[in-house]
Structures are given as C-alpha cells and as structure tokens.
Symmetry: C2
Subunit: 404 residues, 2 copies
Amino acid sequence: MSVYQATVSAPVNIACIKYWGKRDTKLILPTNSSLSVTLDQDHLRSTTTSRADPGFDSDRLWLNGKEEIIAPGGRMATCIAEMKRLRREVEEKNSSEPKLSTFGVHISSRNNFPTAAGLASSASGFAALVSSLAALYALPANPSELSLIARQGSGSACRSLFGGYVAWQEGTAADGSDSLAIEIAPREHWPDMHALICVVSDDKKGTSSTSGMQRTVETSPLLQHRIKHVVPERMKTIQKAILERDFDTFARVTMQDSNQFHAVALDTDPPIFYMNDVSRSIIAIVTEYNRLAVANGGKLKAAYTYDAGPNAVIYAPKENIKEIVELIVSYFPQAEPFKDPFALFGTAGVGEGKLVEGFNPAVAKKFPVGSVKGLIHTRVGDGPRKLGEAETLLGPDGSPKFLA
Amino acid sequence: MSVYQATVSAPVNIACIKYWGKRDTKLILPTNSSLSVTLDQDHLRSTTTSRADPGFDSDRLWLNGKEEIIAPGGRMATCIAEMKRLRREVEEKNSSEPKLSTFGVHISSRNNFPTAAGLASSASGFAALVSSLAALYALPANPSELSLIARQGSGSACRSLFGGYVAWQEGTAADGSDSLAIEIAPREHWPDMHALICVVSDDKKGTSSTSGMQRTVETSPLLQHRIKHVVPERMKTIQKAILERDFDTFARVTMQDSNQFHAVALDTDPPIFYMNDVSRSIIAIVTEYNRLAVANGGKLKAAYTYDAGPNAVIYAPKENIKEIVELIVSYFPQAEPFKDPFALFGTAGVGEGKLVEGFNPAVAKKFPVGSVKGLIHTRVGDGPRKLGEAETLLGPDGSPKFLA
C-alpha cells in the first residue's frame, strides 16, 4: 500500500513595510499592504510532514513533538479544510486520483530555532503546513494561490510562500480572493541582502499581535492616516528600491516604517510597547553608524526593523555585517561566541567588538551580558523547499518522529 | 535715589495637550494649540528679580547665581527688548514716568528645584522673567498680553502666566499677535487636581525639544494628521471636561495625547525617544490601576503624562494620591523618605508601599533603588506672584544675592 506523505520546509520572513491591523478578522484581511524579505532556510525554518492515510480517524497535528488541539473553526482547521477542498477539486477532475481528501491527515512540524528566541514562528509554520499539504495533495496551485490559504492561518504567513522580496497585496474583495502574496523579486535578483537578528531579552510578555493590532484599529487616530496616506506611497518606493537594488532607499523606508508601526502601537489606548531600552539602544547605534557613513559622503549602511517584540533585525549588504556585529558586541557583550556562518571573522572571532572610526561611543551605554541573548547572521533566502522521504517527521505509525 | 526693582515668582506648568512643532521658529508660533495645568508654586517655582538703574551700562542676567550671556537676537534679548518697548509706550504716554526703558537692567533668577530633577525650567523661568519686568515697568498689560512675550522666550512659558487650567491658542496671524495663553478655569474652579511627579533617572541626554520638534515637523508623516484632525477635537473635549470637573474624560484625553506626542516623536526620522523602560513601567502601573477601577464599576483614577524626558507626571484627584504613591514606591523603592506635603501618611510614612486589592503585580517588575530618584507631590496652583522687597535676589550692588 502507498504512503501518501510530503515534507516541506518554509522560511521566516521579516517585514520592511509592516502589517498591523485587519479589516476582516476571520478571513485575516489586512488594513494595508505589506512587504518583506524572506530569510534563508539554511538558518531559520519550519519543517512539516503531512501524511494522509485511510487509517487515520481524525486530523492531528504535532508541533515540535507536542500535540496541538485543532480547534474546530480555528485557524489550523480552516487551513486544513481549505487544502482538502482544493484536493477534492483535483479528485473530481480526475477520478483515478486517490481520495486523499477523505482521509485523516497527520501533520508533524518543527522549527529549527528555539521558541525562546522570540522569533515569530507562525509565518514559517503556516507556510510549511500549507506547502506540505499542497505537496501531499499534488495540487496545481501556485504560491500566490496557496498564500490565500496560509494567510488565513496567520496573516504574515502568506509572505513565506515565496523566497526573495515579497509583497502582500491588501486586495479589495470582501471574500479575500485578491489578498495574496506576490514575488517582487527573487533572491537571485539581490542576493547581497544580509540580516543580523539581535535576540533581545525581555522582562515581560508583550501584548499579542493579534489582540494588539485590533486595539490599534479601534483606538489609534493616527492609524487611519498611515493606512490611507503613508503605506501606499512607501510600498511603491520600496518596490522600486528593490528592483533597482537601491539599499539607501530600502533602508530609509524600512526604518521609517518600523518606527511608524511602533508609533501607532504607542498611539493605541492603552498604549502598546514592544521595544525596550535595549531595542532603543540598537536603534541609536544603527543611527550613529549611518550618520557617520553619510557624513563621510556615503549612503546608509544598515536598516533596523522591529516586529511585535524587542528583537532587532538589521538588514545590510554583506560587506557591512562584520562592522555591525563588532558594533553590537561592543555594547552588548555575548556569553557565547558569535556563530559565524559566512566566515566573516577568523579563528580569533569577534572578541569584545570594536567601534568604527569616528563613531560616537556615547550614543548608548554598555549593557550587561545577556541583554542581547544571541546574534543570528542570515540573508535573503528562497521559498518553501520540498524535502526527500528521509526528512520525514512522521514515524511509520503516524506519530511524530522527533519528540520535544 | 529710588531703587526700581520687582521680584516675582512664576509656576511650572505641565501640558495635557502637548505642544510639539513650530510653524514659525523665530516668533515661536506652534503648529497646534495646547493646554496645561499650572502647578503650585509652594512646591515648584522660578523666582526673578529685575532691577533698572541708570548706572547699569548693560543688561545682565544670572540664573541660580551664574551669569548667562544675553546673546544678541536670542530669546532672552527678545523678551527684554519687547518689555522695554512696552515700557517706552508707558513713558511716551506719561512724561512724568521715569525713563526706565533707557536704563540697563539686571536680572537674577533661581529655581527652587534642582536642574538635575529634569523638570523643564524654561517655562517658569521665562514667565518669571517677563512678569518681573512687567512689575518693574508697571506695565498695564494683562497676563494674555504678557504671554505673547513669554512665548518668544520659550513656547510653553506663555502658559505659566496664568494659574489653574490654561490654553495656548495657536492663533492664525503671521505676526503671532493672536498666539497667546488664556485661562480656561482658575485653580479655585477645580482645586482637587493633584499631581505626583516621578523623577526618573536616565542614562543619556535625550534630544532637545527645540531641535526634536522641528525634526518631527520636517519628517513625521503622522504629525500633520495630529495637528489638523486630532488636536482640535481634543482641545474641545478637555476644556469641557475641565469646566465640568470630569476627571474621567480629562484623564483619558491626557493619556492619549501624551502617547500621541511620543508616537509622533517615534515617527520622526531618525526617531526620538524620551520615555525609557521606567517610564513604560509607570504607564503599565497606572493603566492597571485604572483598569481595576473601571472593572470595579468606577472611572479612571489617574492620568500619566510625559514631556520631552522620562519623568512621569501623574494627575489625580487628591483622594487617590495615597494609593498611587504606595503603588509607585512598591515598584520603585526610594532612597529618601517621601516628602509628604499634604500629610497623606502618618509618622510611619509610605514604607515599602503596597498594591491596591486586585492589582495584577505582573504588569511591571520591581526596579532597583534610584530608578525613580524622587517623588514630588503637588497640585494645581496659581499664576505669577509679586513678592515683597525682602525677597529680592539682587544685592545693593546689582549682583545676585544667591550665588550657585
């Protein structure tokens, strides 16, 4: 008897134009378009195996080896039901296709980065879920079509269906049929976009993005202006910057939009804060690094961006990452040596870091070890990858192979 | 020979609707109207003596005993010149008046609060300067007329010409002749408005408000929306709340506007941060205190507001201040005992503070001693006070009596 299964990995994406606010909370339709860079799965990924079997009497899902309840009507149930509907269309068109849509499905997923890192895993997770079911069901759907379904799992997940530079078009249709992801440019168009993730400690759990963004929609007078008058222009500007590989403009818009997202969070009642003093200091360091570059007749060399948490993601051309790591380590001493996936440093490593010449050291104070818990160096990456049978996360009995 | 001199004290004011942005930087004309509460001079004040003497060969000014250069064309020079112009009008109308406008003037000013407290002294300082010169020159000008001149020293100084609840009307005239302060209500209308100032330590000097606000005008897309569409409505709402002694509405609008001011500062390029993790935690504490009050069927009990720095000012009816001090001290242990000007606490003092029943302690972590350096309890106060000869800050030789 055949085993019907597929294993796919999907990437994390980090937005440059931020998604914050839904116009439809059930269908997850956003109040504005957004744009992100997909990060390299060599470093950060969710991997998911989906298996359909007539012996499975229900749909079940394990995340990092721990079973999650698929709540009826919930986001996971919606995604699975939508994928089965597409499979049914395939089966109806070709009666020789096995009736996988009628089988129970077991899904096992894991992230290669710790939850404690505070990196949003819902984007890569739902992208991997939808992609693995699409592979299992041999659907003819393209990534944009699949993004419509991933979007209903987690809004930003739709952008993880593509590699490279990806826009989520807000769309106008009430049923959400035009609220989908499109590729602005593949990674190969601009492969020199690197990213340094600064994992920041936080004392307390912030407001969840799901509840936070709706409170902003309901109470921030500034959000409407952002939606109507600021984001449309920025979307055009940054897409052009990407097509022209214009890092200066890319960086400027990325930083402005990160700040504006946190500004409308602060304009919410009661206010929402995601950045802390460590986040602020990283902004001050990047700002000074850029000021110096411009003062020396150059252009912006780095761009920070912050999602709904204190972690910084710093985008920069590869050639600047060494200086940036040295700057960050100078202010935020690390307990562990820098993992150096691109071999920027020799065997001596980063050491205690150093400031670039002319850098004003007073822009931030030196923080204690652990304030920035870790640094992850990665770069723009590709879209979901179909993996071989050897990579399966389900054992022969249909239970997860990797337990928590 | 007569000694021509006058000594006046003037109060600090803390805005509820924030002034942030100039449409004319020379005349100091704001981009929006603002509104403040004048604080009690019994606790916080600037005191200024001005003396005119034919033997003074130039205008000189001492601040806390230290001479400040009166830069030609600068703000102090402008205020002094404007006051001399008004004096000249008096002299021209009545030729028996001594020609004080032709004399040099010596000005000695001091604040009764340390500069290190991080409280803006420019508002009380320029209000005291202008008021003392008005008294010296026996000008017939009313406080609104004087506010036109104090405004050219420091925008928010115009609001310190009145006690109680004060609006600074932005005006429309290009020459600034209608950009002045008016009294919305005197302190006696609503004397129960108390304030707790939490003096917060900061590691670094923030952006000056003068340069910061113009960077916001130049770069924040959200500021224009705030100016045109948000502030006018809030000015109406809070004035009505003051006239009706409606603390709930007063508190809501005050907190929203503080947050929106910091939101547009964050929307500035590069972003401006004035609040730090201590400020954020005080917001979280006040938010929880209010949440609990509302959950118990009541109304808002306290309102935080932050100017261009990390210090919190918490407005509340007197009856709530004891609970608020206890809450703040619980999270921010104090090195010094609480100075208790209204005798809220017995001889035992505040001790280690305590939480009100039902308060969720997890909204903030406990900070080390010194994070909040001090607490000042005050209340709504009166306008500039003319003081007696005994209070003079100038010695017989025209030099300051109180040296730094």
